[in-house]
């Protein structure tokens, strides 16, 4: 039976590798009996801004994940309140992100067999 796995990333994409790693891990799950999804919360939500560019500091770019999101149709989620908290306005639609209210998180997490914070 296919297992639903959610990777939750909470660290900023500028200065940490975890946004890229979250997506890379999810993409690596295809081919197994696993249905992966990625959620960005807290400081990781700034990854969704069109204007976030870690590469401007010589770090790994994050937008390289977008073509794989499209290829694999990986669901991407973020928390509405965290977008507001970090003032993320210019959301890059290439992520195809869906937004969840914080008070819906408990039910949302319980839809998955595994929720991995990373």
């Amino acid at each position: 039976m296919e297992k639903k796995v959610l990777f939750v990333v909470y660290q900023s994409p500028v200065g940490s590798i975890w946004v890229n790693e979250g997506f890379r891990t999810a993409f690596g799950m295809y081919g197994e009996d696993i249905e992966p999804a990625v959620m960005l919360i807290d400081a990781a939500t700034v990854a969704l801004s069109k204007d976030t560019k870690p590469e401007s500091l010589g770090l790994l770019p994050i937008k390289i994940v977008q073509r794989f999101i499209k290829r694999y149709e990986t669901p991407v989620y973020a928390v509405k309140e965290d977008l507001e908290k970090y003032n993320v306005k210019n959301v890059d639609e290439e992520y195809g992100a869906q937004f969840i209210n914080k008070d819906e998180l408990s039910d949302f997490f319980h839809q998955y067999d595994l929720v991995i914070f990373m």
């Binding site: 919360i41 998180l105 408990s106 997490f109 319980h110 998955y112 067999d113 595994l114 929720v115 914070f117």
Partner: protein, 89 residues
Amino acid sequence: MALVLVKYGINHPVEKLKIESAKEGDSIVLIQDGVYWNLQDLSSLTKANVYILKEDFFARGYKEDEAKYSLIDYDSFVELIEKEEKFIG
């Protein structure tokens, strides 16, 4: 029901979220620095069953009578892992 694993302390950005996400009937296990959540009153955050990994609790200098929640050993922890269908951690 879900097993919720809390391994970082009270200042970590997401552990409170995990605890709040637990539902009644879920099992929260405090391990490693997660045992410091014993210093907080978790009843306002969750209705889930809370357990503390005994070895990690004692290793940080706490005594059995300081535990607000059930102390469990590794064998009981493994039983919980096997019992719970879902995992958040």
